[in-house]
Amino acid sequence: MTPSQHMRTGAHTRLSIILRIAAALLGGYVFSWGFAALGVVVLSFAGMDFHDAEHAVMLLVFIVFLLAFLWAFIGRSLLRVWAVLAGGGAGMVAAAWVLQRSLLG
């Protein structure tokens, strides 16, 4: 990248970096939340003890967060990164809620 190109893309790059950081932290957190919630419900559904399910998921959730975090910086399309992390996380939370109701219902 030549200096003049760098000047032109500077503001754009800064915004895209901020959006990447936000995706990594917030998107990654929402995704991990969804994973944790859905993981506990699915494992309970499969017959595992609730606390076992909770602990199993908590052992894995930060690995998931770490991978989501890294992917937010290397995923080609920023839009897809946001869609998968935030959308996927929200989707898993919703799925956990529905599955919980059917489990208790």
Binding site: A36, A37, S44, D52, V61, F62, L66, L70, W97
Partner: protein
């Protein structure tokens, strides 16, 4: 955005490492000190310098102590914020549950209790309708240690490494979590950045430029400590995950959790709710004897580690007795549960499930309450290796840029360097000022705990001011003399702490090592002296380098050095 995967990883490593490295220094340094938190407590509280004690008798010694225990004013204040209407007089609240926890390193005993409150809670999701009380006692006499007998190791350095002692909205925990996640990111991106990682591991060129040798040391510490650092960062996160970071079972999945609690209570026979019918309490000492008999019968004799009485004074009351984990990684285990009113065994815990065993192993290995002194020292070395890795990362960042920053009159590396001084020598100085003030303030001083904290934060703030005031040479690509000067402050404080310990308690090293051996205090004193020796060596080395820089004059601004600087790191 980034031209390649490696560029993305390098960017992450540099900027997340730099911005959260300061927090990581705190986590690793105070984490390393926490390995010997109880020993630091002994140093700071001369009244408690006696041998670790077995679990005391409940019936004769603890019972009257618990009867006098009241909710803690701090907790009453916090509880008041969570409830509707004014709380009744704290002294009238009934005790619903009580516990104690002890390890093989504790002369004193930490006890606590939960008190029922009649008020409704503001938040529907908040089901913990209790106020808490706690105290530390001398288990030989039952005497309660006063609040100002502040345990610097376990009540300040230890929580520092996971909460920064910043309790407001648990914000300290969140910052530490972000730092721990950044540590994981930095380890992975660090491996990606250095393709020739194996060769770099064996490369150390202390005779080369500060930039080269700091990078060598950074790589060596990073690679050698990689499994250790990864393990501690991630298990540290896991320990608080279910409670704070991902509290699924108290929020979204609360219905499922509560449903399970009821089923579990029915399964284990340990009542989830009180019956509302008063009942007397049978001999707890007899229950402890029975628990010990059962442990011995399973070929794992031991003492009580955790004792918990729930639904105190109620017909549904039960006593849970867990074996101390001196000889196992899990903190406690092999629980035996008794009906409080009769002393009848309700249940003996089966061996934990595979998941629980993995969880107990990983978190237990982090918390290390078991007895293994060699491993304990290796933990300290591992923690300090983490500090070396982070600190050399700062120095490399500065060394790589300072010549260029000098040329374009940027203050960037100067600021980073002043913060690095604060986070390295400044942090040690803060800890040492606390120890010195602990020996200087009289034992019965009102608010001694508060003033020791003031000295700690004040000492640290002064170290920052000093580092900033002395930072001008960095803007001309030279060394900040604050590094060297703070090394000398560190030496003076460390030696002063050892001398003051001798003067105020009579416990000098000849006594604590040879004539009346007491390793907790001797170990702290010896570590202080070792730190002082190391700091003298570093200060002298820095003085030599500063003199060399002065002689070389403006060499640092010449293009040759800059070219090396830029070629040094991709």
């Amino acid at each position: 955005m980034f031209p390649s995967f490696r560029h993305a990883m390098t960017w992450l490593h540099t900027w997340f490492g730099l911005s959260l490295g300061y927090v990581l220094m705190v986590c690793f340094f105070f984490g390393a000190l926490s390995v010997f938190d109880r020993e630091i407590d002994r140093w700071a509280l001369p009244d408690t310098r006696f041998a670790a004690q077995p679990a005391p008798s409940y019936d004769t010694l603890l019972k009257p102590v618990f009867e006098r225990l009241k909710p803690h004013p701090d907790d009453i204040k916090a509880t008041q914020d969570r409830v509707i209407g004014a709380l009744p007089d704290p002294d009238t609240l009934p005790m619903d549950a009580l516990y104690y926890y002890r390890t093989h390193r504790d002369p004193v005993l930490r006890i606590g209790a939960e008190f029922g409150i009649p008020n409704k809670l503001k938040s529907a999701s908040d089901e913990h309708a209790h106020a808490h009380g706690w105290a530390t006692i001398d288990p030989r006499t039952g005497a309660v240690l006063s609040e100002s007998q502040f345990k610097i190791g376990s009540e300040f350095f230890y929580p520092m490494h996971y909460s920064l002692n910043w309790q407001w909205k648990n914000i300290g925990y969140w910052i530490v979590a972000l730092a721990a996640l950044s540590m994981l990111v930095a380890l992975i991106s660090g491996v990606v950045m250095h393709r020739k990682i194996f060769r770099e591991f064996f490369t150390f060129r202390p005779w080369k430029t500060a930039q080269r040798s700091s990078l060598d040391l950074h790589n060596m510490a990073g690679v050698a400590g990689l499994p250790f650092h990864f393990f501690f960062a991630i298990t540290g996160l896991v320990i608080f995950a279910g409670w704070l970071y991902f509290p699924v079972s108290t929020t979204l999945l609360k219905p499922l959790h509560d449903h399970h609690e009821v089923l579990e209570a029915a399964h284990t026979g340990l009542a989830h709710e009180p019956a509302g019918v008063p009942a007397p309490m049978a001999s707890v000492d007899a229950m402890v004897l029975e628990a010990k008999r059962r442990w011995a019968a399973r070929d794992m004799p031991g003492d009580v580690g955790f004792l918990y009485v729930n639904h105190l004074g109620d017909r549904n009351g039960y006593v849970s007795i867990f074996r101390a984990g001196n000889d196992q990684v899990a903190l406690t285990g092999q629980g035996v549960h008794f009906e409080a009113s009769s002393g009848r065994v309700i249940r003996e815990d089966p061996p934990p499930s595979a998941v629980m065993r993995v969880n107990e192993f990983l978190t237990g290995l982090h918390l290390q309450h078991f007895r293994h002194w060699l491993l304990r020292w290796l933990y300290v070395l591992g923690g300090l290796l983490g500090c070396v890795c982070i600190a050399t990362g700062f120095i490399f960042f500065v060394e790589k840029r300072k010549a260029q920053h000098a040329r374009i009159s940027s203050q960037g590396s100067r600021i980073v360097d002043a913060l690095a001084v604060t986070a390295v020598t400044g942090m040690v100085i803060a800890a040492l000022t606390m120890l010195v003030s602990n020996r200087l303030f009289p034992a019965d001083m009102v608010g001694k705990d508060y003033w020791q904290k003031v000295v700690f934060w004040g000492g640290w703030a002064l170290a920052f001011v000093h580092a900033a005031l002395r930072s001008a040479p960095v803007a001309h690509a030279r060394i900040n003399p604050a590094w060297r000067e703070q090394c000398w402050v560190l030496v003076a404080l460390a030696v002063a702490a050892v001398m003051l310990n001798w003067l105020t308690t009579g416990d000098h090293l000849l006594k604590t090592v040879f004539t009346d051996t007491y390793w907790p205090v001797a170990g702290v004193d010896l570590s202080l002296l070792a730190s002082a020796v190391l700091a003298v060596a570093v200060a002298r080395l820095l003085a030599r380098r500063e003199r060399a820089q002065c002689r070389a004059g403006s060499d640092a601004r010449q293009p040759g050095v800059l070219a090396t600087a830029e070629a040094g790191h991709a």
